[in-house]
């Protein structure tokens, strides 16, 4: 029954017209002419749309410049849409696609980073991350370690069908339902493409939509919208897994050169290098991902001198959509390559090298971008993870086991991480919220971004309930249409502003609440500790005697106390050289078993220690464990392959494993008990901690007898790459 899905039948029942795309068979070509007449003549075809038929801008970027929807004069990547056929049904549409004649003049494409470097083909200037302060003089007894390697591109989600449905309204409106959850930018972009007012376009995501992280996610809704507006009938566009895989952006590969200077103890003093990303034909998310890579390259380690440049290469591949963590996980993986290399050169355990280079209080607590760290937590999680996992004892036992086993080897690694929370402050703007309490106990929240999305709305509801005791169904959330869309990753900033607004409201209500409680016969134990629960406002010592919030608000309004407050989060107003609002620290140990005959790997045991993230500890553990397993999927997933013509290979068994890996027999997560506030996202750090699985696999491969894997270990590590790493090692 494969192929049956809800959208298809639903659409056919509701008489949607179907579409089929004319895709470029070349990665780079000039388009001399497009002849659609034969397709138009086919019975059942309603229209064929090309770039020239777009009433607005042929662009899927805000501002209407860049990322053209349809290739117009030039094809810039393989499978770029050139035209779309709209027909009675899918079969007719597909047949008509074969009748559209496109006269291409193929050109030599730039494929891969090496070709881009040779031709100096870049998207923009390089980004630079350089240690602030005085330079570190080189010493004679320092050693040098250099390495050049690649982190392959990857999918960051399970293969799936993508679809979009557009229904034109009688009043000139257009409703679009999509399988991808777009930010508020979607409406602006679609309106610009269609050449209509933004207010006429409505975009809704299905319940299980995947979040958009690339302009390519706008291709389907834009096509469905264009067709629906042109014909005046409902139109549906569907991409099967294979076509979607070829057209929608992924995380593209990186090429890294690293040079490390370290002493005989294994302390790395200087780290330099270059990072090049295959940005594909458009910048898309590349610059943001590169920003995060550079700002996480230090990992949990202090380097007195660090200089990295990052540059996005312009090629004729798909654009880079960014991964789930926008480069943070890739940076964590990258720095561990340095640690492994130094460990190999000095013949010292990698754990020892990691420990020697950790950030510490004092002179070793400032990041390369000048932000101070609270290194106490890092020290705590490292020590706790080390003892929890009994790393030293188990390492001995594993070494002994490996000596007596030829067919399989075990590996163990303990890795620390430091993750900057959420979006980098250098990338974001001021966000504002307004909270208003009404006499009937309702709350109204106004956000300054449009298309806020479900995650943000859920956060708002949770905060209002927690801070003011107003339940979800009593909260209305409004988005200001005129303001820019919410940036992905900005939710924590809104949360911070919202909490501050709630605190202001609580201050406004405090004295009125006290009076109301006293009138109700409640003795106030602490005026500063009044509780706002879903039953009302109460004294902490008499929670059974609350006064309704609506009553208190009513009295406050009578007294002229403002019940509408606003608050904002302004990253520029922060003092000092803060790049991130804070950091999450964690350390995890993983033990793996690797089959030398097949390259298969099993995670046997995982011990994770991380900051708690402000959640209930047990809940936090579950979230951390789940994110860790997703990270494990990432480090062991399949890489993206391109053909020599720049087309993504979509072999039938090339499925992404990033979201699904079995839970190991032993997975223990411990969240340290400190109250660390709500600013931190424990999932990001947990995802990145899965790098320890990769490092454990490296140790297991090394145990097969060779040293080569210490230096050259592919990324990601599928059974195939593990198998060939063992085969290639000098064991």
């Amino acid at each position: 029954m494969s192929g049956i899905n809800a959208e298809m039948s639903r659409a056919s029942q509701e008489n949607f017209l179907e579409t089929a795309l004319v895709l470029s068979p070349y990665s780079h070509a000039l388009i001399n002419a497009i002849d659609v007449q034969a397709a138009l003549d086919l019975k059942g075809v309603h229209t064929v749309i090309t770039a020239r038929d777009i009433p607005g801008a042929n662009s899927l970027c805000e501002g209407g410049v860049g990322f053209p929807l349809f290739a117009e004069e030039c094809v810039l990547y393989h499978s770029q849409p050139v035209a779309v056929v709209v027909a009675e049904n899918e079969a007719v549409a597909r047949e008509a696609v074969g009748l559209v004649k496109v006269d291409y003049k193929p050109k030599i494409p730039i494929l891969g980073i090496d070709e881009a470097l040779a031709l100096k083909s870049f998207h923009s200037d390089e980004q630079v991350l350089e240690t602030t302060g005085e330079s570190v003089p080189e010493k004679k007894d320092w050693h040098e370690f250099s390495k050049k390697f690649t982190i392959a591109g990857h999918y960051d989600g399970a293969p799936r069908n993508y679809w979009s449905m557009a229904i034109p309204g009688k009043d000139g409106t257009l409703s679009i339902k999509d399988s991808i959850a777009h930010t508020g930018a979607a409406r602006n972009i679609l309106a610009a493409v269609l050449g209509v007012e933004k207010g006429l376009v409505m975009v809704e995501a299905e319940d299980e939509a995947v979040p958009a992280n690339s302009a390519s996610a706008m291709i389907l809704p834009a096509i469905a919208g264009l067709a629906a507006v042109k014909i005046g009938l409902p139109v549906r566009t569907v991409l099967d897994q294979e076509t979607g895989g070829r057209m929608l952006s992924k995380q593209n590969p990186l090429q890294v050169s690293i040079n490390a200077s370290y002493d005989t103890e294994g302390v790395i003093h200087r780290l330099e290098g270059e990072v090049f990303m295959d940005g594909g034909w458009e910048q898309d998310c590349s610059q943001s991902v590169m920003h995060h890579i550079l700002h996480h390259l230090d990992g949990a380690y202090y380097f007195a001198s660090m200089r990295f440049t990052g540059r996005v290469c312009r090629t004729h591949c798909l654009s880079s959509g960014g991964s789930v963590l926008g480069g943070k996980a890739m940076a964590c993986s990258l720095i561990e390559e340095v640690i492994a290399g130094v460990a190999m050169h000095l013949e010292i355990d990698a754990e020892v090298i990691r420990e020697k280079n950790l950030y510490e209080n004092g002179a070793r607590q400032v990041t390369p971008y000048g932000q101070d760290l609270d290194t106490l937590m890092l020290e705590k999680v490292w020590k706790k993870a080390k003892s929890l996992a009994s790393v030293e004892e188990r390492a001995e036992e594993i070494a002994s086991w490996n000596n007596n086993t030829l067919a399989a080897k075990r590996g163990l690694a303990l890795v620390p991480v430091k993750i900057g929370n959420g979006i980098s402050l250098k990338e974001c703007r001021v966000v504002e919220v307004e909270v208003c309490l009404l006499e009937d106990g309702l709350a109204r929240v106004i956000l300054d971004g449009s298309g806020a999305g479900n995650a943000l709305r859920a956060m708002v509801s949770a905060v209002i309930e927690e801070q003011l005791g107003v339940l979800l169904d009593s909260v209305s959330i409004e988005e200001l249409d005129d303001n820019p869309s919410v940036q992905p990753g900005c939710e924590p900033l809104y949360q911070e502003a919202l909490i501050e607004a709630c605190h202001l409201l609580r201050d406004h209500l405090r004295m009125v609440s006290v009076r109301c409680l006293e009138e109700a016969g409640v003795e106030i134990s602490d005026i500063m500790e009044l509780k706002f629960t879903t039953d009302g406002i109460c004294d902490p010592e008499t929670p059974d005697s609350p006064v309704p919030l609506g009553l208190v608000v009513g009295q406050a309004l009578e007294q002229g106390i403002p019940m509408t407050v606003s608050s904002c989060f302004d990253p520029l107003a922060l003092s000092g050289e803060r790049c991130f609002r804070g950091f999450t620290f964690g350390a995890a140990a993983a033990e793996v078993l690797v089959d030398g005959l097949t390259g298969e790997m099993r995670v046997l045991r995982v011990d994770i220690v991380q900051e708690g993230g402000g959640m209930a500890q047990e809940h936090s553990q579950s979230v951390i464990g789940n994110a860790f397993m997703r990270g494990t999927g990432w480090v062991t997933c399949e890489k993206i392959r391109w053909t020599a013509h720049g087309e993504i290979e979509m072999a039938q068994d090339t499925g992404a494993s990033i979201q699904a890996l079995e839970v190991p027999p032993h997975l223990y997560c411990e969240a340290l008990g400190e109250e660390i506030g709500e600013r931190k996202n424990p999932q990001e750090a947990a995802f990145c901690m899965a790098i320890c699985v990769r490092e454990a696999i490296r140790e297991a491969i090394v145990a097969f007898g060779g040293v080569t894997p210490r230096l050259n270990l592919p990324h990601p590590l599928s059974p195939a790459t593990v198998y060939f790493s063992i085969e290639a090692s000098d064991c």
């Binding site: 029954m1 995947v210 097949t598 298969e600 809940h619 997975l667 059974p719 198998y723």
Partner: protein, 491 residues
């Protein structure tokens, strides 16, 4: 012919209301307005009759169930039964180990619960839960607990909630026409099914989750589809022994097949232990598995190694083909208009007179990307008979996923025959296998898959270097061999 049918979801009655023959259960759940299904896993418990015709609940993926298959049947699902603002369903509550701290989680596991219990309580040995989920009870465990609880509450009442299948049963024929004219038949007998195929030459046969012939893709069809489901034919749902040969009906699920045959066929036992996905085993049938070798290489590989015979039925009678003969091309090419794969015949190698002494060495290996849920990327089934002088008297080396189709390694088998079992012979066979599978293969990781031909053989030999003394690989790499002995080996 019915234009409507009833089925039961979590005890509530539902009606098809003209739903398309093509409609999947997952689609129905989403369309019912309550759906918040997880993206890639959508487990439900389906009421079926097991191989002994006893009612049972089986975990399956709702995306692979055609809605008309559910007519008069009962399912239980945790997905799509809770909506925002509504109370949590009792089944969802029962799933959480610690209900006090559970929460509904988004991201990769929509509508699934997380509770924060420690690793000690992680239940990972059920194929029915999301592989990322931690702190969960298994679906069947939760449902059983819930049903028991409700049974206790309802004691003395008329409602028989423990029955997974409605009283009306599923033996009687069922036919349905959807709003677009699509036809769905669930015949009760093989003869009836064959007559339907005669009446509707373009009909597709639905066996488990497989539709054949493959060309009859109901999605691409421009005409209303005609589907004949053969899973309710009692005659095809049986496993029996006749004259020393096992007859396995085409509608027997892989799970029922392995339950019935594992104790008699060591190779099937190995396959059973190696295959992790319960939903897959529950829905895949013998008939469907034989017709879709690309998706289900495991079953076919094992059957090929067991010298199985395929039974093909038509109105004019029954014909039998050795599986190796049927697989000169894809099996579907051996199937003629109006024919159904109605079963297989198996004979245990140990039962054969000439091979009653010595050792029967068997091995089944598979490489999967997602251990508990995926189908095999590469699999291999080995069956080698060694006589008391340690000479190989019979060898079957079969591979799935390496070439375009399931394949026997004839050259390597020939090399083995008559040879003295040992490292020297095994090395020769490894080289032979590597050469036999060295051509350009289609699909991802082709070089790796090719290399696995020799590697999996080496693994088999490492396990069986000394006939009768099985070496156990470390847990997790053992492909179903229990690990309770020395962690050593030479490959």
């Amino acid at each position: 012919m019915q234009t409507d049918f009833e089925f039961f979801i979590n005890g509530d009655i539902h009606r098809s209301e003209g739903a398309s023959v093509n409609c999947s259960l997952r689609e129905y759940l989403m369309r019912s307005g309550k759906g918040r299904l997880s993206r890639d896993v959508c487990p439900v418990l389906l009421g079926v009759f097991d191989a002994r015709q006893k009612p049972a609940l089986r975990i399956v993926h709702s995306c692979r169930i055609a809605l008309p298959m559910l007519a008069e049947r009962e399912i239980w699902t945790v997905d799509a039964i809770g909506s925002q603002g509504e109370p949590i369903d009792s089944l969802q509550q029962a799933l959480s180990i610690n209900q006090q701290i559970s929460c509904q989680c988004g991201n990769a596991t929509e509508s699934m619960f997380f509770s924060g219990n420690s690793a000690n309580t992680i239940k990972s040995d059920y194929g029915c839960q999301h592989p990322n989920s931690t702190g969960w009870l298994s679906f069947p465990t939760a449902l059983n607990a819930l049903l028991q609880e409700q049974k206790d509450l309802d004691e003395g009442a008329d409602h028989q909630i423990e029955s997974p299948i409605s009283e009306s049963g599923i033996e009687r024929s069922f036919s349905y026409v959807d709003a677009s004219g699509g036809l769905f038949f669930r015949p009760a007998s093989l003869r009836e099914a064959l007559r339907l195929l005669q009446s509707y030459p373009a009909a597709s046969i639905l066996a488990g989750d497989t539709v054949y012939p493959a060309a009859a893709d109901v999605i691409d069809s421009q005409t209303a589809p005609v589907v004949v489901s053969i899973d309710s034919i009692v005659q095809l749902g049986q496993v029996s022994l006749h004259e020393g040969r096992w007859h396995v009906g085409g509608a027997v699920s892989l799970r029922a097949f392995t339950d019935a045959m594992s104790s008699r066929f060591p190779l099937i036992e190995r396959m059973t232990k190696a295959m992790g996905s319960l939903p897959l085993k529950n829905l895949l049938t013998i008939s469907g598995g034989l017709m879709d070798e690309l998706s289900n290489p495991e079953l076919l590989t094992v059957l090929l190694a067991l010298d199985a015979q395929v039974i093909i039925s038509s109105l004019s009678g029954e014909r039998r083909l050795m599986l190796k003969e049927a697989f000169q091309g894809v099996l579907s090419s051996a199937l003629k208009q109006g024919e159904i794969v109605s079963g297989v015949l198996l004979e245990s190698p140990m039962d054969r007179e000439e091979q009653s002494s010595g050792h029967h060495l068997t091995g089944f290996y598979q490489i999967v990307r997602r251990h508990s849920t995926d189908r095999a990327m590469v699999c291999a089934a080995f069956s080698v008979m060694v006589d008391e002088n340690e000479r190989v008297v019979r060898a079957r080396l079969c591979y799935g996923g390496i070439g375009e189709r399931v394949k026997r390694a004839y050259e390597a088998e020939e090399l083995l025959r008559g040879g003295l079992w040992g490292g020297k012979l095994a090395s020769k066979v490894t080289r032979c296998l590597n050469a036999e599978f060295s051509g350009r293969l289609v699909g991802g990781d082709s070089v790796y898959r090719s290399a696995m031909a020799g590697s999996l053989w080496r693994k088999f030999f490492a396990e069986n270097e000394t006939p009768g003394e099985l070496f156990r690989f470390p847990q997790g790499l053992d492909n179903g061999v229990p690990n309770d002995s020395k962690p050593n080996g030479n490959c």
